[in-house]
Amino acid sequence: MAPVANASKSSKRLPPAIRRKALIERVQTNLFSSVPNTILTLLCIIALVLAVPDLLRWVLVNAVWYSPDGSACRAPDAGACWALIPEKYRLILFGTYPYEEHWRAALACILIIGMTVICGIRKLWSWQLLIVWLIVITAAIALLYGGILGLSVVGTHMWGGLPLTLLLFVGTVLGGLPLAVLLALGRVSNLPGIKAVCTGVIEITRGVPLVTVLFMAALMLPLFLPDGLTINKLMRAQIGMIIFFAAYAAEVVRGGLQAIPRGQYEAADSINLSYWKRTRMIVLPQAFRIILPALMNDVIRAFKNTTFVSIIGLYDILGATKAATNDPIWVRYSAEGYLFVFMLYFAFCYSMSRYSMGIERSLSARRNY
């Protein structure tokens, strides 16, 4: 019996235990490994000791949380004037949209954000989702514009704040992605005419700043349109942003297209898939897996790029904040207003980036090639 027991014992080998480094050891190797490293560490500690208490005093301890007329903020030892936010949040969030109709703007925001969240559920991904998106956007626009169901008409020049930001963002991505795919396919196409046009559009758009594209859309486009035909300024800005987004995303998509091995195309050809079926069923699904991280980068940038529309007089949430803090009582506290918007932007962008990391992980877990 004994030898048998021995044999089974020796065949059952456990993996070597992973040695956990003690805290002190970790600190030593990461922060005090050499003389320059030690100096840097000490300098950082000094900077933190000097900055953090003051910062905390300003942000929390001495901050004024509520003061309808802003008088409390003027006390000599007052910290951050957060009282600005409860006083002005509706102006920041909805800009110049008529005050008593704000519920419509809020509902439009909820519609768009809700749809974005639903869109994030991978089980629901399908082409039909695009149709639902169109319906949601149409509903949001109808809600904002009014003129139906007894809602008063609110012209797009009155739109502003978060609904404008969200609408521009969603419009840019939903309009820009299909255009990006078409531009990328055109650029790698064998047809010289199509290839030249797509390459031209991509390179010219990438060669100019977004601000220029928006100025073109806002100021120059109307000059080229025939008399009598006018396109709404918001629409023009949206078109400009779509093209700008598409030009960048097209290059990302092209990278994905070129990463697909030639054998995939040949296999698709050998079973007689047509160009569009091959693209839709074989090439794009594989390409999108590869480019997802880079594409999310562009999507997040598109969200932040919506701030540029304030240059042509559209009050997105940043522009609305600027306008809200122009009030003489509060003008000294615009920094607090901007910090509030900063937090909002951060919340949106950070959740998108976390989401994209999650998707990446689940795709790479399933990808066995």
């Binding site: 054998g263 296999a267 079973i271 007689n272 074989i282």
Partner: protein, 250 residues
């Protein structure tokens, strides 16, 4: 377009092809009868892969003609589509669609190209997977299968399109040695079922077992064509003898 006089399934006439200045195929004249099994061999760079890739239009030839089941292969899409309907192909690197399951790899063509009803296609897919002996892998992704299993799925994927001719482009060259047998076995079974096959391979055992004729190519030319018994025991051309001595040495 259909030529009633020839019974050939695949016919090459004065076929010439260049890659730039490089003359890959020189005056190839050859015809493959219906139900015939052809093994094409030759040193690498001799043009054998290019030859079969011309059959279903993955490569374009510049001179001469190829007819598949009476239809001429031209550069027009209609003609290539018509030819591809009767030609199935198996690649050296398998080229399965990695984002689709084994079943989806099989049903994609019949359902979205031929518009056959899904239920019938699924049943057919299972039948073919039985034939290549991997019915239990039906819901897996290609990346979860061994090379030999992937290649057998690739064979099934080509067969489900109901081709009249099957082209094999070095189907075992990318496989680990222990997996070559299972793929060849599936091919032997297919040969026994009467399929017209053109196989580019260095597997001389396979050639001996099922080929009706062996074609030896060198420098873009067909040097020698003979039934396997004759080809291996009594090669006529010096180049064939050299090749055979090299390949059978191991």
């Amino acid at each position: 377009m259909k030529d009633v006089e020839t019974e050939a399934m695949v016919e090459f006439r004065n076929l010439n092809k260049w890659f730039g200045d490089f003359h890959v195929l020189r005056d190839v004249n050859f015809s493959v009868g219906s139900g015939e099994r052809i093994v094409v061999c030759g040193p690498s760079g001799s043009g054998k892969s290019t030859l079969i890739r011309c059959v279903n239009g993955l490569e374009q030839h510049q001179e001469g003609s190829i007819r598949v089941d009476g239809v001429e292969v031209t550069e027009h899409r209609k003609s290539i589509e018509m030819v591809r309907r009767s030609v199935g192909m198996v690649f050296q690197q398998f080229n399965l669609f990695p984002h689709l399951t084994v079943l989806e790899n099989l049903t994609l063509g019949p359902c979205s190209v031929q518009g056959r009803p899904e239920r019938e296609v699924r049943a057919k897919a299972m039948e073919l997977l039985e034939m290549v002996r991997i019915p239990e892998q039906v819901l897996k992704y290609p990346g979860e299968l061994s090379g030999g299993q992937q290649q057998r799925v690739a064979i099934a994927r080509a067969l489900i399109m109901e081709p009249k001719v099957m082209l094999f482009d070095e189907p075992t060259s990318a496989l680990d040695p222990e997996m070559i047998g299972e793929v060849l076995e599936a091919m032997v079974e297919l040969a026994k079922a009467g399929m017209t096959m053109i196989v580019v391979t260095h597997e001389m055992g396979f050639a001996r077992q099922i080929a009706d004729r062996v074609v030896f190519m060198d420098d873009g030319e067909i040097v020698e064509v003979a039934p396997p018994a004759e080809f291996f025991s009594n090669p006529q051309n010096a180049r064939t003898r050299l090749f055979l001595s090299q390949i059978l040495a191991h």
